[in-house]
């Protein structure tokens, strides 16, 4: 069976209690979700992020929220993004933005030049930054730099923290102080709910005005599962710990093969190899990783961290491909 390591999913299924909650949600799928459950979920997310539930907006996927923000704010503002970035959002911005500036980050450090970004903030701007960045896994901005940006009243900052639970870095504590800050999160990744699609926005006051009645009727299975998952976050944290520990092991083993690994802060690894058709050859070994050559540069691949046994198959397939390649070149 194909091992899926190409979409940054959590390899651990939701806990039994969460699955049961989702199944319970199916009982009434002929009805729209009740607002009391939406309110409960927002309250739980408020507590989880140490903020008011009024600052939370729910959606089936954080990318939909980012799109909505692009729709609302791009008419009279320039958008600044990093390149590369989360590809579906980039594609949407390219299509919708009236003005778009992308700042290219380059190997090996993939560092965002803060002075370069600050120089661009001379007009009303919406900055959209995934932090950590996808596909590099690198932090683009830290709190100090975020504050510098947020002191500019004409600038809105949207930080996509889809991988917060893995990276441990968030700007959520700054949301009360800075009205021009918004954060998108997801329960798809660390909470193992990718198939149910639960994204949310934590918004500063500037954004609140534009989302006064953004009441989303989430599906009941999603709603019930998310509520249950947030009531017992220790299942999620234990999985995150296991994934991060596996990530270290996979990184160490990959380095032994001679493949270039770029350490990051999420549940995936960015690698670079000169081996031709690397992705296809792994696919032949029943392992699917994300080949970045379509949207980005040749030779770069993103590998999600799987279960230990899946990672073992991945590593053994990579070692085989590397050995074959060495023998071929002898």
């Amino acid at each position: 069976m194909m091992i899926k390591l190409h979409m940054n999913e959590n390899p651990y299924s939701p806990a039994r209690s969460i699955q049961k909650a989702a199944i319970k949600g199916l009982e009434n799928v002929n009805r729209y979700s009740e607002s009391k459950f939406l309110i409960e979920l927002k309250k739980l997310l408020g507590n989880y992020n140490d903020t008011s539930s009024e600052r939370i907006v729910l959606s089936h996927g954080s990318d939909l929220l980012i799109r909505e923000i692009i729709n609302i704010f791009s008419k009279d503002r320039k958008i600044i993004m990093v390149n590369p970035s989360f590809f579906p959002v980039t594609q949407y911005a390219l299509k919708q933005a009236s003005r778009l500036t992308r700042i290219q980050i380059s190997p090996p450090d993939f560092k965002l030049d803060s002075n370069l970004l600050l120089k661009e903030l001379n007009e009303p701007t919406l900055i959209i930054i995934d932090n950590p960045n996808n596909p590099t896994g690198k932090f683009m901005i830290d709190k100090g730099f975020a504050e510098k940006i947020l002191q500019k009243k004409d600038v809105l900052l949207l930080a996509d923290e889809a991988y917060y639970e893995f990276s441990g870095q968030t700007f959520a504590s700054m949301i009360e102080k800075y009205p021009n800050l918004a954060i998108t999160r997801t329960m798809d990744k660390a909470f193992s709910l990718a198939g149910l699609r639960l994204g949310y926005l934590i918004m500063g006051d500037c954004f609140k005005d534009h989302f006064p009645d953004f009441l989303t009727y989430l599906s009941n299975p999603t709603l019930f599962a998310a509520i249950e998952a947030l009531k017992k976050p220790e299942y999620m944290t234990s999985n995150v710990d296991k994934i991060l520990s596996e990530k270290k092991r996979v990184e160490k083993e990959l380095l032994k093969t001679g493949i270039q690994v770029f350490p990051g802060n999420a549940n995936f690894l960015l690698i670079k190899t000169k081996i031709l058709d690397f992705g296809k050859r792994l696919n032949d070994e029943e392992v699917n990783i994300f080949n970045l050559s379509d949207e980005w540069m040749e030779g770069y691949y993103r590998i999600s961290i799987g279960l230990r046994k899946e990672n073992d198959v991945l590593l053994s397939a990579i070692k085989k491909i590397c050995n074959d390649d060495k023998n071929r070149n002898l």
Binding site: P88, R102, Q104, L116, G279, S293, E298
Partner: protein, 388 residues
């Protein structure tokens, strides 16, 4: 049951019980192999251009192109292909090992050369091929460009010692993947002229030689959350860039347009026709110079107070001013100034570059250009990228 193939019209027809069943129209593919491409590599020579080929043979070089084409054909699983192949070692010898429908085009002698490649490709074009598969190196790509230009799309299978031209597929698998699948879009990719003498001495001097149309490869292995159908086609993106430039044209300003198809689109929007590979100049919608050399550029620069250069990087290596772009000399660039250089490129091209590069041949001139630069990638869309 009497089966027959009516090849001249490229239709497979089965004669079953006196009724003819038309299976469908076949795709006409040209196939040509440069049998000596890649022979220099195994004996430590870089390339087989010029007389080096004979030296390679004396050193015991073995052909690599046959394996390349056979590896590719082994991966081709489409049944609706009809090949027009070059004779003998230029194509026929390899395809006959497979179960493809084909016919041989033209004739060759015992020794083959670039003229054979060009002549046979022209004959294939007359046979109305829809796609050309060629195997070779940068030199072969240049021959293909000479014979074909941008008439029909190509799949270049790398077999030479050096494949610096972005027009090549990355591997035999990648080439087969393109052949096996229908493509919605073709994009123009550069063919480079590598100075092999310099390359043998460890230097890389790459000059833009031309463009070939290449089917845009789609990665079929990975499922994605979103199909990329929101992407605009390359042609529309170039139109967008041209429109943005056009709307910002300043009066009485000399616009010096570098080589490339993006620049050709801009020139078209300005109402002039530019040379594809040359450097041309436009003022107030009038062409005031074509295919300019350094002297021509300096002469024009002296006449105008306001001057802008518009250039596009070479795909793959990102050079905007390379050592082989002799016209844009340090003196020319110094007179025009970094602030008057406008860089344009499609988003796809920029995203694939680690950085832009300059190598004018003079350190001071290079130092003036390095840092960060804005590249116009669409209508009011730009990318800031490092220049090294």
């Amino acid at each position: 049951m009497n089966r027959f193939v009516r090849t001249e019209e490229c239709f497979i027809k089965l004669n079953i019980n006196n009724s003819t069943l038309e299976i469908g129209r076949m795709k006409k593919i040209g196939l040509i192999v440069n049998p000596i491409a890649g022979m220099g590599g195994s004996v430590g020579l870089k390339g087989t251009d010029g007389g080096i080929y004979k030296e390679a043979i004396e050193l015991g070089a073995k052909p690599t192109a046959p394996k390349r084409i056979e590896d590719t054909l082994a991966l081709v699983n489409r049944k609706d292909l009809y090949f027009f192949v070059a004779p003998g070692k230029m194509g026929e010898d390899y395809i006959k090992k497979f179960d493809f429908k084909y016919e041989v085009v033209s004739e060759i002698g015992t020794q083959t050369n670039a003229d054979d490649t060009k002549r046979i490709i022209r004959e294939m074009v007359e046979k109305n091929i829809e796609l050309l598969i060629f195997v070779g190196g940068d030199g072969t790509a240049r021959d293909v460009y000479d014979a074909l230009g941008l008439k029909i799309p190509v799949v270049g299978i790398p077999s030479g010692v050096k494949m610096f031209s972005p027009a090549f597929a990355l591997s035999t698998y990648a080439a087969a993947e393109i052949i096996n699948n229908e493509y919605a879009e073709v994009i123009e990719k550069e063919v480079l002229d590598i100075d092999e003498e310099a390359f043998r001495e460890g230097k890389l001097g790459a000059k833009l030689y031309g463009y070939l149309k290449v089917p845009k490869k789609l990665n079929l292995l990975q499922g994605k959350k979103e199909a990329s159908n929101v992407n605009k086609s390359e042609t529309i993106i170039k139109e967008d860039i041209a429109q943005y430039i056009f709307e910002n044209i300043e009066k009485d300003t000399l616009y010096i347009l570098g080589p490339g198809t993006t620049l050709a689109t801009i020139a078209c929007k300005m109402g002039v026709e530019k040379t594809l590979l040359g450097i041309d100049a436009v003022v107030n919608g009038q062409l005031v110079g074509t295919d300019l050399n350094e002297e021509g550029l300096l002469g024009l620069i002296k006449k105008y107070l306001k001057i802008k250069i518009i250039v596009t990087p070479i795909g793959g290596n990102g050079f905007i001013f390379g050592r082989a772009s002799k016209q844009f000399t340090p003196e020319v660039l110094k007179l025009i100034g970094k602030e008057n250089v406008i860089i344009v490129a499609t988003e796809d091209k920029v995203s694939r570059l680690e950085c832009l590069r300059v190598d004018t041949g003079e350190a001071e001139s290079d130092n003036n250009l390095i840092g960060h630069a804005k590249v116009i990638t669409g209508y009011k869309t730009e990318t800031i990228i490092e220049v090294k």
